[in-house]
């Protein structure tokens, strides 16, 4: 167990260093950032001074050392586009993304798990077939298309919900929240649904597959033979064993939501980190890109670490399997 944890931790550190190296290479070798920051009429001297201030004239080793040192403290320098510290920008954008992501994850689990149980238990019922057909369409519709359709229906045609932004936000310390105003709740509905739909279909299909798998096993047959009510069998015995993989998948789902938040935020002009990244790419704002890269890499490494350890802790069978495959 301890060896496994140490091995996973080392692997995580290695991945983080790789991500940092890519981010740093981006920093060091891409274009001339000065041109993106200053106007046409800036003198050569001013340019040189700015270059010096940003530390772009130092040697490779010095710059890499400084990059890693600063990255650990969450310091990624000044944004080329806004000439403000990247840390400030990210702290400003993070609450929006986190609120949206958790809302979406919550929705996906709230609807996905019961739908999966239902379609798993009543495989051939009319409702289950309909849900499966709809879920296939849900998988085939790209996230941004779902968002556009929602905007068309609820913002343009019906005019019920705002089509962009977060609505009115309330400041609590450095955190901003839209969940304390009616406006904010109206604004989060469509982005959260857009982001949740794909994950929901995924959870539903996973729970369904697991449920069907579990219902086939001998201990379920035995429970039925003992004369337990189907309610006790389904929810007491089958569901409990179904939820092990669901629990771990939820971790991966969070990661996937962070990835797709980029798309959803762009569709709804949601002022979060995803939108920030896309804007950074179009402006070649490299410090912001590098910071996003490192931050997302960190999120994923942590999530994966937790998921792996959860697997290990929850399901004893996996321990044996892992040792057998030497992985």
């Amino acid at each position: 167990m301890i060896a496994f944890v140490i091995q996973r931790l080392l692997q995580s550190v290695l991945v983080m260093l790789t991500v940092a190296l890519i981010a740093f290479a981006l920093f060091n070798y891409v274009g001339d950032p000065i041109n993106n920051m200053v106007g046409q009429d800036t003198t050569l001297q001013d340019r040189e001074q700015l270059r010096q201030e940003l530390g772009l004239n130092d040697s490779f080793v010095v710059q890499f050392g400084r990059f890693v040192g600063h990255a650990v403290q969450g310091n990624f320098g000044l944004s080329y586009q806004q000439a403000r510290p990247v840390k400030t920008i990210i702290l400003e954008k993070m609450p929006a993304t986190l609120e949206l992501s958790f809302m979406a994850a919550f929705l996906a689990l709230l609807f996905g798990v019961p739908m999966g149980i239902y379609t798993g238990l009543h495989r051939n019922s009319w409702g289950a077939q309909a849900m499966l057909a709809v879920s296939l369409v849900g998988v085939s519709l790209p996230t941004f298309l779902i968002g556009i359709l929602l905007i068309l229906i609820f913002a343009v045609v019906l005019g019920w919900l705002p089509s962009f932004g977060r609505g009115t936000v309330v400041h609590i310390g450095w955190w901003t929240t839209g969940l304390l105003t009616v406006d904010g709740w109206r604004a989060i509905i469509m982005p959260a649904i857009t982001l949740a739909l794909f994950q929901m279909t995924l959870i539903m299909r996973l729970v369904r597959a697991e449920m069907i798998e579990v219902l086939r096993t001998d201990y379920i047959k035995f429970a039925r033979a003992r004369g337990l009510t189907s309610r006790a069998v389904n929810f007491g015995h089958a569901l409990k064993n179904t939820l092990v993989p669901v629990m771990t998948i939820t971790g991966l789902l969070l990661g996937s939501i962070i990835a797709f938040a980029v798309v959803t935020e762009t569709v709804f002009q949601w002022p979060g980190m995803g939108l920030m990244f896309i804007q950074a790419v179009t402006f070649a704002d490299i410090p912001v890109m590098a910071a996003y890269l490192v931050l997302v890499g960190f999120f994923f490494v942590v999530i994966n670490l937790i998921v792996d350890l959860l697997y290990y802790a929850v399901d004893p069978r996996l321990r044996v399997e892992r040792e057998a495959t030497g992985g």
Binding site: L26, G31, P142, I278
Partner: protein, 317 residues
Amino acid sequence: MAEVTTSGASVAVQPGQVRRFFDSDLWWSFRRSPVTVAAAIVAFVIIAAALLAPLIAPHNPYDLASLSLLDATDPPAWLKDGNWSYPLGTDTQGRDVLSTILYGTRLSLMVGVSAVLLSLLIGVTLGLIAGWRGGWIDTVIMRIADVQLSFPAILIALLIDGVARTMLPRDAQNEITIYVLILAIALSYWVHFARTVRGSTMVERNKEYIQAARVIGVRPARIVVGHLLPNVIGPVLVIGTINLATAIITEATLSFLGVGLPPTQPSLGTLIRVGNDYLLSGDWWISIFPGIVLALLILSVNLLGDWLRDAFNPKLR
């Protein structure tokens, strides 16, 4: 599809194989499923229309001389102010929406297919090397694959694409973008191919026909390409079909985000992005029609992929 026989063993199509294909389980399961047949027809129509775009498109959207701003943002023909020379209406520059969709589908398909082929090439090569050689090469390749698999593919494609774009000179971007896009998508999907091929290579490696080839002194490179490859390629082609849908979605998403194909060379995703800016002013047709085509294309390819996977997996029958 004719080259994928149920055994997955032969790659070239010979005359006798055509009849064998119509006798096969594959054809039988295809005919038995009306959804699959419908999906095949839809996919065929869209692909054929895209390939024939220069012949059947009513206008040439790239010919700037033929555009007239007087015809800009015309609604579809069946609505008031519509005009039958622009059946699905025009965009803000006066381009015929139907024609841009035909040309856009062509680009979307081209990027999707190229990306899948490239990722197949990368994945199969690395998978063969890992499975055949084993040892530290295997460890390195599979560790990279594991790490990459823990990130969503779309995020990887987005990051590769974004980083590559900032590295390129601004003025060259429009020409190179399409290759960057193909490479970014290919590099985010090779893992699935590599894992499958590695697994079946490790099984096949110890079989008698490979040992026999070794004993009579066939060079390793020839064993791998000539004997091993034909026996591990079958499942890969199925994954390829399923990945085609994902690759098309990825391309559309990147183009929609503005880091894919530029508006001068629009794919379906770019068209939706451009039209999205005018959605709020009521010009819905500019983005919704490309969206419908994209959704139909992905849905039909997905259904075909699902059917292929089920047909090759007897356990599910």
